[in-house]
Structures are given as structure tokens and as C-alpha cells.
Amino acid sequence: MNDLSNIEKIKKDFEETLKKCKDVLHLESIKTEYLGRKGRLTRTLRSISALPAKQKAEVGKKANILKNEFTGKIKELSAKLAAAEVAGKKEETDVTLPGIRPDTGRLHPLTVTLSRINEIFISLGFNIAEGPEIETEFYNFESLNIPLDHPSRDAFDTFYIDGKYLLRSHTSNVQIHIMQNQKPPIQAIMPGRVFRPDAVDASHSFMFHQVEGLMVDRGIRFSDLKGVLELFCRSMFGKDIKMRLRPHFFPFTEPSAEVDISCIICGGNGCRVCKGNGWLEILGAGMVNPKVFEAVGYDPEEYTGFAFGMGVERIAMLLYGIEDIRFFFENDIRFLRQFI
């Protein structure tokens, strides 16, 4: 074949093929077909040496021009196709479609609240202890200086199983177990479930949760109780919260106090939640009554200590603004999903 017409044919074929090329992969194969090691144009260029001198110059020149032209066109088209591909992909991904979210669960708000309480006290050097829910008179009452048939029992209506066993009406029973089993120093909090025969309504439940705290050592003072509780209240409810202790009566502490914080809803100005007086009662506390130390065989002249107790539901209701205690036990998934 005439070498010049062959070159013309290669050019024509290349241009037609290139017109049909729609993607980068095809372009690669075109590049190989014409410019590759065994490509049509490469072969033509290699065969030039065999031509007569007159033709050699002409064909060589044309072929080289063509090589540059092909290289340029391929490069140009390659850039175009790449751009088109990016643009095309953009259209395929609808960024407004919802993402595929992995399913995650949630901890119960009481667990979340309790963990927060636990972590604060752990940071203050307390450890966590637990005790039985099915308990005897001794641990729930007598050792805590709550005699039978005494008005101080009015606050502790109790479920009984039989003459000997009952469902604990507070977590204070764990104090006694701990003190019977170890010597001071003691620094523990005791979370747990408690039971009282209260008819269920928005603010009462026959089952709820408490956290008891106990610290016993030589030289523990009432002011230490105040310091620890103040740190707790501020860690739990915010650093600007105010705390006050009001004298109160608990059979197992002396002196005893009820602990209020400035209302977290209204900041202390008075609102529906704090019943207008600006304070919310959240804790009971006091110095361990020497009679309790005597019941567990500690020398009240040697050791002093403080104890406190709080309701987990009460704290959670205040923290999250939950108005009905029953929500905790209904476990509506729409409720549970709100707490992290």
C-alpha cells in the first residue's frame, strides 16, 4: 500500500474512533491501538527506515505531525472525559438523601443519672457498694435507731414478706452491712432499688431508686459533709447553683439536715417547680448517730462520720424536667430515646 494513503487512512480511522469514544477506558484502548508499542502509527513510523530516501522524509514528517496531533487530541479528550465523569458522579449522589445510620441504643435515664452521680462521688474518693433489697428488721430499722411502733417509722411504710423479712424502704441498710464488714476509713456510695407501699401517681411510686453515701473516719466533721455535698450539687446541677442545709430529723443521723438547692428552673426567684420559694429539696443528710456506731460495734468516741441519701428519680426529674415519675417505668421508646 502507498504509505502516504496509509497514513491518511490511519488519520481518518483515528478521528472516527475518537468521535465515538465516551469514556476513559475506551480512550486508553484507542491510545494503545494507535500510539502503543505495537500501535498502527508506531508501526508506520518504524517502517519508515525501509523506505526510499525521497519518501522517507515526506512520510516521516507527516507521521510525526500525526503523532503529535493524536497525542494532543487524546490528552484533550481525556481531560474532557474526566471532567464529565466528575460531573456525572455528582448527579448520581443525591446529597439530600438520608444517610444510612447505624442503629444505636440508649441507656435508661435513671442509669444515665446514676452514672453521673457515681462518677462525681468516685472523683471525690468514694467507692460503690451494694446491698440486699430483701432485708431484715434489724438492718432496715433497728440498727438505724428506728424503733418499732415509733412515730419516726411514719416516714417508712414498708412492704413485708413475713415476720422476719421485708423489702428495704431505703438504702441506709447498706451502711450497716458495710460497717459490720470493715473498719474505718469508709467512703462509699450505695445505689439501689427501694420499695414503699405508696399508691402510684405522678410523684409517687411503690418502687424507686436511692443513692446512699457514707464516710467514716477519725475527725470527720459536719463541715466536711457540707463541702462534699456542695461539690456534688455544683457538679450535678451547675457551678452557680446555691445549696443550703436545713435542720431536720432522721433517726440515724445527728445533727441531721435536709439539703436544698436553688431552683434550677427559675434560678431561685420562685416558680411552679419550687412551689414559689426558690428552693428544691434534693437530699437528706447528717452526721452518723453514735447509736448507729454502737449498733455496728464502732467506738463513737473514736470515729465520726456523715451519711446522706437522695432519690435518683427526683434528681433525674429535676435534671431533665420530667413531670411524671411513671414515665421511668413505662419505658416508651420515644421517652427512652431522649437521654444520652
Partner: protein, 681 residues
Amino acid sequence: MKISYQWLKEYVDLDASPEELAAGLTMSGSEVEAINDAGSDKVMSLEITSNRPDCLNMLGLAREASAVFDRELKVPDVRPFEGVPAEKGQAVDCVIENTELCPKYTARVISDVKIKEAGEKIRKRLEALGLRPVNNAVDVTNFCLMELGQPLHAFDLDKLKGGKIIVREARKGEKIVTIDEEERELEPGMLVIADGERSVAIAGVMGGIDTEVTARTRNILLESAYFDPVSVRRTARKLGLSSDSSYRFERGVDKGMIKGASDRAAALIVEEAGGRVRGFYETGPLSAEENVIEFDTEKAGKILGVVLEKEWVKHIFQRLDMTVTDSEGSRMSVRVPTFREDLEKEIDLIEEAARIFGYDKIPATIPEISPVVERKVYARQVSEKLLEDLVALGLSEIVTYSLISEASSNRFPGLVKAPVTLSNPLSEEQKVMTPHLLDGMLKTISWNINRKNKDLRLFETGKVYSELGKGKGYGEVPALCIGLTGIARRNWMEGKRNESFYDLKGIIEDIFSGLRITPEFTSIHIDGIAPCAGIKIQGEEETIGFLGQATKEILNEYDIEQDVFLCQLKPGRIFERAVLENRYHTIPRFPFSIRDVSILCEESLRAGDISRIIAEEGEELIKSIDLVDIYKGKKIPKGKKSLTYSIQYGLDTRTLREEEIEALHSSVKDALAKNLGVTFR
């Protein structure tokens, strides 16, 4: 307890406004819950704690105010009232049969009274505190009760038969109509006041209607006594009858005020109703002893964490009617008045000093903490990890009641061995300490489905309870319950799929692996769960729980119409066996090779047998066995199934050669064919 601001001011010179008084009382321990307008007066409602019966009257709270605001207390006139001797027919014979329940009884006769409306002052005082005026004699007794805290009772003397007062236990079946016109049946153990024939009052609780003072009454018998607090409390509770009297008697009235109150009332009755006081009868061994407590100001300061001035403390104690005798240094002897029986020990006086000093003035300090390494016991650490893992697997935590009905408890009879039953339940719905967590789970699922929350992955960690055997007490052990129902996963890319047995099993495998223990599953039978697999810790005998699908019969009980998969296990052993410490394992340096094998076998062949044979044949050269496909249908003969396993072969010390892998893979296939009779596709 209600108090009137104006009335209180009769006993103490106060500059404080009602609001200031309320704040002062609240911050010293008598919490004022409300202040209400009552004409020109203010009435406050207080919560008086059970240790302070002395604050259940105007004088007691005036004393508190006198200490808080440092003002003089003005005690009402309770001087002994000199009567005239009794005349014939007006004498009374008082006998106490049970001096334990009634250690003191006093009576006095006031003759020739005119019963009418009481004077305005007394009526107004009573009305302010919410008491309805009756007549001058009754109103005086109520007035003295509110003023001094001593309950008094006025009988119509002429209606007492036999000229006798007998304080005795009620007889079996004895009845009395009390002044609220209710007939009450009495029983032994209840103390009554009787005349020669019948009981005329329930001691310390309420008088009888037959002997009450009416407009026709001419002669009065005025009772002032001390009744045993426990006895009054039991009686009042049994009868479901609480009165202003019983409330005070059960907390303990002032043993030193029994005669004083009678004197005060007698004087006021004469003032209001005329008549003459004739004699004073007193019987019973009770004497009012004053307790003496040694008090050390320095020690008090150390316990409170504050510096107290001895002179200040003395002054405050005197304001509270204590008698202080100075001792050496920081010490003093404190004689406690009879109305403060709550003050037994030094610590009680420390509280007195602290509450008047003001808790708010005590500083806040941080105690020295004792270093303890293990803040949480191991079981708690494992349990917290379990919770985190379950949440990460998409499960939400629930908390359900530990008390359920007997019927609910018995829905899974296989799980109820010796139930713990309350002797005084609030209702049938909350009678049994739950022996399993399945009822709470199914109730929760039902509750949610009824509210269109149909796709649920839930878990609960609680306790289950049982009796350990007669006389051996009761057991409570931790339990974990998981419930899955509805759609497992649904999105626009992959479509949707329902929860299955295998989703639940996968969750269990995953949490076990997170705790570095291996579970084993075997088919077992539990009523209400089918199919059901028992869960064991590898190498242990005892089943620690189960998983499976709730039967239709069970679901019907809870009105659930979709499949529910349940698991309950007792993680006690898991807490012991779990490994939380993480040791690093060398990453293999030589590549492993993967070979797939598709097995054609009987439909009944269990996958567990196949993987066991593979593992046994390849031993340590097999690094993993994954079931990647189960296929039935086209090209598979009926009654058969095809399982495709992806097996990873490898060696830790060098790369396995191609020939070695092929030989190994062939021997695995041979073993499967030989042991299980399977063929390959």
C-alpha cells in the same frame, strides 16, 4: 401543725415579720410550709419532725423563736390552782389498772359550771388554727392543748357512773360511740377510761359521746394524764382514728406539764364558765426526771467544723429552757427540761447548738480522702461494660417494676421455683417479687406496640428473686433480659428485614466475645419459648440462661401480634469469668489463604456439626471458618440444602505453600464427606 403569728407574739416579744419568723423557724428545723392570711393575723403551717413533740404547741414554737431571735419567753400562768375540798357526791375515785400503759392520771372536779359559748378571744384563737369552737369547757381544753401541748379531756361528771374512774385495757368485744358519733369496737391492748360500768373514752385518742360536756352539763371532771406513746399509737392505727390528742401522746407529751396544764385549764374554765374547782386527784408512779448531759464546747466545735463560743452556747441553751452549770474549761453541765426527751446525749446538744448557730454559718470543707484502689467491684465493672456493649449494638435499656402479679409471674412456670410473695401488697398487681424479667419485657413491648412503636431492641439488667428454702431467707440475683421485635433494619438502600432468632443469638455472641468468654448453645425446652436455646459458658456444666422465640400463647397474654425474641440470663458466672484486661496479640506476619467450599447436605444437618468437623480436621492451621451462604431452591434437590463456608488457612511461622493448602482443603472436604456424608457443589 398550725400556728398563729399574733398568738405566738403573746409569748415572745418579736420584731420579726411573719416572713422573717417563718424563715427563722425553717432554718432552725421547724419548716414553715405555708403562710396564709387570716384577717389581721397570719397562720403558718409547719412540718414538725417526730422527735420534737414540744414544738406541737404555741409555747414550744415561741420558745424556738425566742432562741432564734434572742428574745425573752413569757410563759403563761400555770401556777398551782387552789381548789376547795370536794363535797359529798362530787368525790371521784381514780384507779389505774395498768400503770405501764397509763403511768399518770390526774382528775379534778369543777362544779356548778354554766356551759355556753366560749369568750371571743378563745374562739378566735381556736378558729385561727382551724378548730371548730364547741362550748366554753371543751374550747378551754382545746385551747390549753394548742397552747401547752397537753391533751385534756372534760367529762360530764354526772354521767360517770359509780363515782369512779378506772383506767384499764378494753375488754374483748367492748364497744364505744366516740364523740364523732362513730361506733368503735375495742379489743384488749387498747387502753380505755371507764366509769363504774363501761368505757367512757379511748385513752389519749377520743372521748365517748355519752359523757361529753353539753349545754346541760353542771359538773365537770377534767382529765390530764400521760399515756404510753406506743399504746396510743397502736390503738389509733388499729382504729384508723388519729386526733390532735393521739398525735401528741404518741410522740410523747411533757411529763412535767400534766398538772400545770390541768391548773391552767381549771383556771380558764372557772373564768369562762364560773363554778368551783374541787380538789385534785393524782395517781400513778410517773415522775418527771430531768436529764443532765455533760457538754464540751470544744468537742462540739470539732465535730461541726466551726469555733463555738462557750458563753454563746450557754446563752442559747438557757433560751431553750435548759439549766446550765459551768464546768472547767470548755465544759458545762446541762440540765434538760422534761419536754425535751429527744435530748439524750451530748451529740443531741451539739445539734441544738448547730441549728441555732445556723447551718448556713458552718463552713464547707473537703475531708481528707482515703486512697482506695478499686472504686468498683469487678462484677460492677463487667456489668457496666455489658451495658455499654448492648447500647452499642443498638439496644435501649428499660427499667421495670420488681413487683408483679402472681398471674404474670406464673406465665413462665419453668422459671418460677419458690416465689417471694408480699404479706401486705398494695394490690394484686404488685404482689410477687419477680422471678424473671420476661413479664416486664413483654409488658414494655406491648405498651410500645400499642403506641405504634413496633420495632424494638430492648434490654434490662435487674434482679430476680426466690425463696432459698424454708427459714433460709431469700435470694436476689442479677439478671439480664433482651427483647427484639419488629423490623431489624430498614433503609432505602437495602430494604427491610425482620428481627430473627439469629439477630438475638448474634447479640449474645457479641457481648460474650467482648468479655472474652465463649458461649455454647444447645436446644432446650422452656414453656412459652419455642424454639429455645440454652446458653452455657464454654466448658461449664450449668446453663446460665436461654434465648428463643415467645410462643403465640404467651404473646396472646400480652396482646402482641408480632414475633418477639427473648433472652434471659443470669450473669453471675459471667461477672466471675469475664476478662476485662486486654492483652495484645501479635498480628500474623505471614498471609493467610482463603478457600471456599460449598456443601450439599440433608436439610436436617446442623451447621454446628459441619464447623466442628472442619475445625477438628484443620486444627491450628485453620484461622477462621465463616458460613457465608445458605441456599435452598433451584438446582438443589428437595430435602437438601447448600452451605458455603469460607475457610482461612494459615501458619504463624511461615507462609503455607499452595500445595499444602490444597492438600489441607482436600482433607477437610474428605473429613466432611466421611463424617457427615455430604457432597460438594
